[in-house]
């Protein structure tokens, strides 16, 4: 699964630590999602989408 989390985070001016706080996860988890080492669960993906006020499919897409 690919995601546009790094671009979205940069667009909003958030650090990984700030985003981690908002999602109630560790900074390592945010890093793992951004680098594609971990695909978040559906509830976490929904929370990410809510933080950026977007739909899940606008952030996550299947691997090409």
């Amino acid at each position: 699964m690919r995601n546009s989390l790094p671009a979205l985070r940069a667009e909003h001016g958030f650090t990984q630590a700030q985003l981690a706080d908002a999602l109630n996860v560790s900074r390592q988890t945010v890093n793992a999602i951004e680098t594609g080492r971990y695909d978040p669960s559906l509830p976490l993906a929904f929370t990410i989408a809510k933080v950026f006020n977007k739909q899940i499919e606008e952030i996550f897409s299947p691997e090409a």
Partner: protein, 134 residues
């Protein structure tokens, strides 16, 4: 600005360290106090209860790990479970391997070695996985 939620995940590591350290401290205390208690208590306390005393903090250690598991986020949970699974596999293989070595003449080991063996496997696995993760 991102709305900051109450984040127990942030403090999970510190809470785990405190809880686990207390349980470990109690274990050391119980192991050290056991011989003295066995020598100095009368018949009113059954010896089996005194001998079992160190088992209580061992269960507390397990409880601390469980509480930590419940506090961390899903990715950290996955990593923790992977580490425990690998450590259990390696530890089990070590135990079986040594049982065959006992047949070959090596001295038999007490079952008390099982727990430190698994703990060592867990620590080693966690260290290797942390390095691999970087």
């Amino acid at each position: 600005m991102i709305p900051t939620s109450a984040a127990p995940v942030k403090t999970a590591g510190r809470q785990y360290l405190v809880e686990f350290s207390i349980a470990l401290g109690l274990l050391v205390l119980a192991v050290l106090a056991r011989p003295w208690l066995l020598d100095n208590t009368g018949n009113e306390t059954p010896a089996v209860l005194i001998k079992l005393m160190p088992a209580v903090p061992v269960w507390l250690m397990f409880w601390a790990v469980w509480r930590h598991y419940r506090r961390i986020d899903e990715f950290e949970q996955l990593k923790l479970l992977k580490t425990i699974a690998v450590a259990f596999g390696v530890g089990s293989c070590l135990v079986v391997t040594y049982s065959f070595l006992e047949d070959a003449g090596l001295p038999p080991l007490a079952i008390t070695w099982a727990w430190p063996t698994l703990a060592a496997c867990w620590g080693l696995t966690a260290a290797i996985m942390r390095i691999a993760d970087k």
